[in-house]
């Protein structure tokens, strides 16, 4: 009996082992491939490598654009389990109507965004609701800590971090990095096990030529001018006249780069490079420099402007004030239209056009920002009978503020045309210089002598008797030129009687310029002249900027006895 039982038991054990062995063989050999794939699906998780855009710095290493980690709320519609009260609370946290929010969630499917890039405190509140079927994903969020400051230069990105404006757009390929995938292991409950692999890729950092403080000074003074003159818009550009490094570009109206997507079109316009205007008297630079370079006039050459007007192509162009005899220097100093036209007639239309092109008018400056336009100046063969007179005083041409500033910078630096630029360096994430734009490609366009002569004439503009006395600052001579031009009325297509563009462009200290700057105020109310509206803005910005840049006053009694420190 016992033997029989033992046989049965042994047989049962052997059969059981055989069954287990067969099953193991089935799992490990026969069905191996399918099961391995299934196991991999369950245990291996492929994650996207998070791409973080590079940081944007000002010239002194102050952050202008950086990244934050934000939580984005999504819903698994098939797993969603929430009552009406939960939905009401959730909708209030994401600033939505409950009904509208529910309408966004489909009945089927496993993924739908509820709200992306939430502030941390909102994410915490939602998490506390413990709603089944809701979860968060961490995403990179671009943050602009200086908000409105330099927003037209820096630009902004969209919800998916896609570049939309400014440096973000222009240098997008450098700021972003290649993403890719990383394989992570997870357990049966979906918990990720550490792989030690970095799941973040960082783009290159960009160092701008912009200085935060100078930018702020420019923006602050533009705000003041906008308020004082109830202007429609205003622009200011500050540049190193020797290198073309842009120190500040300010435009008004402006927008907060953190809310770039909701900014209106006119707020987003970088007028300094995307808008052109008829420059008015600041264009007399071309007549002045051309006449001097061609040796047609000298600073003391006398022009008879006593008639107060001059006939060009059957049209009489007049001076604002009546003068008698003016030297060429006084023609520029007092901004005499008649004197400029007489000089323009001497220079001739071919030369006027040639010098305008030489100074870069009608061509893009090549600034590294998106949206630059070229403006225009017609070829001499397309000029009408009145064109010579009109162009001599800055009408019938369209220039951008950056073009005008570059032209005056050529006077400041002794005759070289520079390439304006806003990026100084691109630095890789491991802190190596990837590209440097410090070497400027300047080329001479006029002789040093002509530049020096015209600079002295421009200095007289801000002195007693000049049109821009309001641009002068204590302690350092200023060289520059005012401009007042009528705008074209978009309805009548004629010059408007009440819409003007007031401008001032110049550089300081005149004999050893540290900065060149242009101020444009569009449609000022109350006053229209560049010397009254724009020149004081120039003065206020440069007064503070020179102090910030540590430029000594030239009239200071202690200037020659400056404290010397030996290293």
């Amino acid at each position: 009996m016992n033997k029989k039982r033992a046989v049965i038991l042994h047989t049962a054990i052997v059969v059981s082992f055989m069954l287990v062995s067969f099953r193991l063989a089935d799992l490990m050999i026969i069905d191996h491939k399918r099961l391995q794939e299934r196991a991999q699906q369950q245990h291996i998780k492929v994650e996207d490598i998070q791409v973080r855009r590079g940081t944007i710095f000002d010239r002194r290493g102050r952050e202008l654009a950086l990244n934050l980690e934000a939580e984005s709320l999504y819903c698994d519609p098939e797993a969603l389990n929430a009552d009406t009260e939960d939905i009401r609370k959730l909708a209030s946290f994401v600033n939505n109507e409950p009904a509208r929010m529910l309408a966004q969630i489909p009945d089927k499917g496993r993924f739908v965004w509820i709200k992306r890039k939430l502030p941390p405190e909102t994410a915490d509140k939602i998490r506390a609701l413990r709603i089944e079927g809701l979860d968060f994903l961490t995403e990179a969020k671009r943050f602009y800590p200086k908000r409105e400051l330099a927003s037209h230069i820096i630009g902004f990105v969209g919800i998916d971090n896609q570049a939309l404006e400014g440096i973000e757009l222009q240098y997008d390929k450098y700021l972003t990095a290649k993403g890719g995938k990383v394989i992570m292991e997870r357990d049966a409950s979906g918990k990720t096990l550490s792989s030690g692999v970095t799941v973040e890729a960082q783009g290159n950092n960009i160092v701008l030529t912009i200085d935060e403080v100078l930018q702020r000074l420019a923006e602050k003074e533009l705000d003041r001018a906008m308020k004082q003159w109830r202007a429609a818009a205003a622009s200011a550009i500050m540049m190193d006249p020797y290198t073309g490094e842009i120190l500040a570009i300010a435009n008004r109206p402006a927008y907060d780069a953190n809310r770039g997507g909701s900014a209106r079109g006119f707020e987003k316009r970088n007028r300094a490079i995307t808008d052109c205007y008829e420059p008015g008297s600041t264009f007399k630079l071309i007549i002045g420099v051309g006449s001097l370079e061609e040796k047609l006039v000298k600073p003391d050459t006398v022009f008879d402007v006593s008639k107060g007007g001059v006939q060009v192509g059957g049209k009489t162009i007049r001076d604002v004030h009546k003068y008698g005899l003016l030297t060429f220097k006084e023609v520029i100093q007092k901004s005499s239209n008649v004197g400029s036209i007489l000089a323009g007639m001497k220079l001739g239309k071919e030369n006027i056009y040639r010098y305008a092109k030489l100074f870069g008018f009608g061509d893009k400056t090549g600034i590294d920002l998106p949206g630059e336009i070229s403006g225009w100046i017609h070829k001499p063969e397309q000029w009408s009978g009145t064109s010579l007179g009109a162009i001599s005083i800055g009408q019938e041409v369209a220039v951008t503020p950056i073009q005008m500033l570059r032209a005056y910078s050529a006077i400041a630096n002794g005759g070289f045309l520079v390439r304006p630029h806003v990026v100084s360096e691109i630095i890789s994430p491991d802190n190596r210089t990837f590209a440097s734009f410090r070497d400027s490609d300047n080329h001479r366009i006029i002789s040093a002598k002509t530049a020096e002569t015209f600079k002295n004439i421009l200095k007289s503009v801000t002195e007693e008797g000049g049109t821009a006395k309001n641009a002068s600052i204590d302690g350092n001579p200023v060289a520059g030129k005012t401009g007042t031009a009528q705008m074209i009325d978009p309805v009548t297509k004629r010059y408007s009687r009440d819409k003007y563009v007031s401008s001032f462009v110049g550089f300081v200290p005149a004999d050893n310029p540290r900065l060149a700057m242009i101020i444009i105020v569009y449609e000022p109310k109350g006053e229209i002249y560049g010397g009254v509206v724009a020149a004081p803005v120039f003065r206020e910005i440069t007064r503070q900027a020179l102090s910030y840049l540590n430029v000594p006053r030239e009239d200071s009694p202690g200037q020659h006895a400056a404290l010397l420190v030996s290293r």
Binding site: L66, E69, L193, K220, G475, Q544, G558, V565, S566
Partner: protein
């Protein structure tokens, strides 16, 4: 069967079991460590996120516009008159004292 075999057999069985359990123990410890590392990495990610937030906040607070407005409004600071500023310039030439020292050398 020799005496040695009689003694060795249970020892080998014990060693075998100890080895198997040792392997299982080690493997489970590795998994445990992976879990711990995973948790620590999560904490690290949270800390990094907080650091980024704090850094952004600091950068925002240190913006020139904010400093200027608080210095103006709250503390009554004004930009100095440029006449009151002493400009310190570096001079690479030797001053008399250094020159005399150099001569002695």
């Amino acid at each position: 069967m020799s005496l040695a075999m009689l003694v060795l057999r249970p020892v080998m069985v014990i060693l075998l079991f100890a080895g198997v359990f040792g392997l299982v123990y080690l493997r489970s410890n590795v998994t445990k460590l992976e879990y711990s590392l995973g948790e620590l990495e999560k904490k690290k990610v949270h800390c990094l996120r907080d650091r980024k937030m704090l850094f952004a906040e600091k950068t925002s607070q240190l913006s020139f516009a904010r400093l200027e407005s608080s210095a103006d409004d709250r503390d009554g600071f004004v930009l100095p008159d440029r006449l009151q500023v002493v400009h310190v310039s570096k001079d690479t030439r030797s001053l008399p004292r250094l020159a005399s020292l150099k001569q002695k050398q």
